[in-house]
Amino acid sequence: MLKETLDNDFILSNEEKTEILNKKNDYEDARASSIEALKIVQKKRGWISKKAIYEIAKILDISASDLEEIATFYSQIFRRPVGRNIIRYCDSVVCYMYDCEKIRHFLENHLNIIIGETTKDLRFTLLPICCLGNCDKAPTIMINDTIFSRVTLKSIVKLLELHK
């Protein structure tokens, strides 16, 4: 229901259009700005709907299927609504040795969701991520744009409270 409403209401704002057109100038070919364009729109809306694909493709003057191909390939582009806060826990080899699986189970139980899901109140989405380049400070989680080092189950609870 939520998905359909957001999808049908989609219109690119002037601000988004300007930002995308500016980005186009960085490249020899407009298609190269696809990822940036998707990220620009996602930054404000949280995710990329089907209608958004058509609208962004139009402004970049590329085919919607080309853009769809990009949007489905890259892990940071979301194709369905996500929570207000994205929690990514690092499950790479060093964090693994620092019990990242316990962190994952704790988050799943605490939020009552499994990886890839969003809480009912739309507050959190839980995703895995590969090495955040923070191995000397493992274990690591990333909430939205911020990386948190040497986290413990206790500190994670505090971090979650800070993200409404």
Partner: protein
């Protein structure tokens, strides 16, 4: 633990760092002689001379493969098929266990920019891109500010230092996917396509970004350029204790007392780094295995710990130096579980372009999961070994699958009994041995 005394004579990459290891912005960078190498190059040195200096210095690519930077540059330089050519900085660091490029970008961003400027000058490049990993938000903010500063000081733009030359650096941040670090996949991704690797030849030096001659260098490689130009190739060679020139960002993570990374000369032994800099294993833990440079390198054992950290010595021991950012495994870790974690990563990150990688890696994960639960079938280890063969070098489109099976193959070699103990007792008794690959996927 050893404290490093960093000087410009001994630590070309990190001597710029201030006491607090805060970002070295342009004022501090210039105060200590930053951008002098570029100014020297733009005024007095010709392209060929710069390329020869880099070639003679013996600098090898620091992304993992270790190809000669000077030779790579001369291939681009010699290609006169187009007046438009590109320089790409590979900052898509995503190898599990690796955190060196992030450090260099976030601490000394102008060193990278100066390295790119000198490279662009040598290769006659006007437009360059830094392909930065999307998750490195802090690095993105720091690079944006540093590029802005370099513009303000006249090092970038249409009339660099009033010389009439024009250089531009664009920051392109990715959207996730390990494969973007492979140089041809990086080009595809930058062009706004799926990051599938491209068939080689033509190599990027011949036809790269938008079909133009393109040079792709890693962050650490480019960060070495200014000091080589300032101090010369002989000086750079003499920094090393081995046949590989210069210094390298090296480190240890895992359960060591002081995980981290340090700029050290090639040829230093892994034991010296582990004990003198990383402080040794945490109390009560014994070293069981280690990876010399990222998740895609073969496991080595404690008997290899006295090996010098250099491309050839690690390769002779059956592994790869890779990123030289090493990781230890302690005696409490089960190798089957650890390898399962590594293979899950590679399986998740396969771009899906070629069948052995796309189908083989999930198959490996599935077998390792059952071994982990002691529910393995009689032939599982044999199947894993056959899969290692079918995903090995030359069998797949790019190096993703060969990289993925390196830790598996070496773990089976060194810790076979742990894999054998993952077989279920009943399967050993009831299942007959079957030759050839048989799917055991659920």
């Amino acid at each position: 633990m050893k404290k490093i005394l960093r000087t410009s004579e001994t630590h070309p990459l990190t001597w710029w760092l201030n006491e607090n290891e805060d970002v070295v912005w342009i004022q501090e960078y210039k105060k200590n002689g930053g951008y002098c190498a570029f100014e020297k190059a733009i005024k007095t040195i010709k392209s060929e001379e710069i390329i020869n200096t880099i070639k003679n210095s013996g600098l090898k690519g620091r992304g993992g493969a270790g190809f000669s930077t000077g030779i790579k540059w001369s291939l681009v330089f010699k290609n006169s098929s187009s007046s438009v050519r590109y320089l790409l900085c590979n900052a898509d660091e995503m190898e599990p266990g690796t955190y060196k490029d992030k450090f260099l970008i976030e601490k000394i961003p102008h060193q990278l920019i100066e390295g790119m400027l000198i490279s662009a000058l040598a290769l006659k490049v006007r437009r360059s891109y830094i392909f930065l990993r999307g998750e490195y938000i802090e690095s993105e903010n720091i690079l944006k500010k540093a590029i802005f500063e370099a513009n303000e000081y006249g090092y970038l733009g249409s009339n660099v230092l009033k010389s009439g030359l024009s250089f531009e650096i664009f920051l392109h941040s990715g959207a996730g996917r390990y494969i973007c670090g492979e140089e041809t996949a990086l080009i595809n991704s930058l062009e706004g396509k799926r990051a599938n690797p491209r068939f080689k030849p033509p190599f990027p030096a011949m036809a790269g970004l938008w079909g133009k001659p393109t040079c792709i260098n890693n962050v650490e490689t480019l960060s070495n350029i200014p000091s080589i130009i300032s101090n010369g190739s002989e000086w750079y060679k003499n920094l090393s204790k081995s046949t590989d020139s210069g210094t390298k960002m090296m480190g240890f993570s895992g359960k060591v007392k002081n995980p981290g990374l340090w700029e050290l000369p090639f040829g230093i032994t892994a034991r010296e780094i582990l004990e003198d800099y990383a402080g040794g294993m945490k109390n009560g833990l014994k070293l069981k295995a280690w990876q010399p440079g990222g998740a895609s390198t073969d496991f080595l054992t404690p008997e290899h710990i006295d090996l010098p950290m250099s491309f050839s010595s690690i390769s002779n021991a059956g592994s790869r130096l890779g990123t030289a950012i090493a990781m230890v495994v302690d005696h409490t870790v089960n190798m089957v579980s650890l390898v399962r974690n590594i293979e899950e990563f590679f399986s998740r990150e396969s771009c899906g372009w070629c069948t052995p990688c796309r189908d083989g890696l999930p198959w490996i994960v599935s077998i390792l999961r059952s071994l982990e639960k002691h529910q393995g079938q009689n032939n599982d280890i044999k199947i894993l070994e056959q899969l290692c063969h079918h995903l090995g070098p030359g069998k797949t489109f790019c190096a993703h699958a060969p990289g993925a099976i390196s830790p598996l193959k070496s773990a089976i070699k060194h810790f076979r009994s742990e894999f054998e103990s993952g077989l279920s007792r009943s399967s050993i008794i009831s299942v007959k041995s079957i030759e050839g690959i048989q799917s055991n996927m659920e």
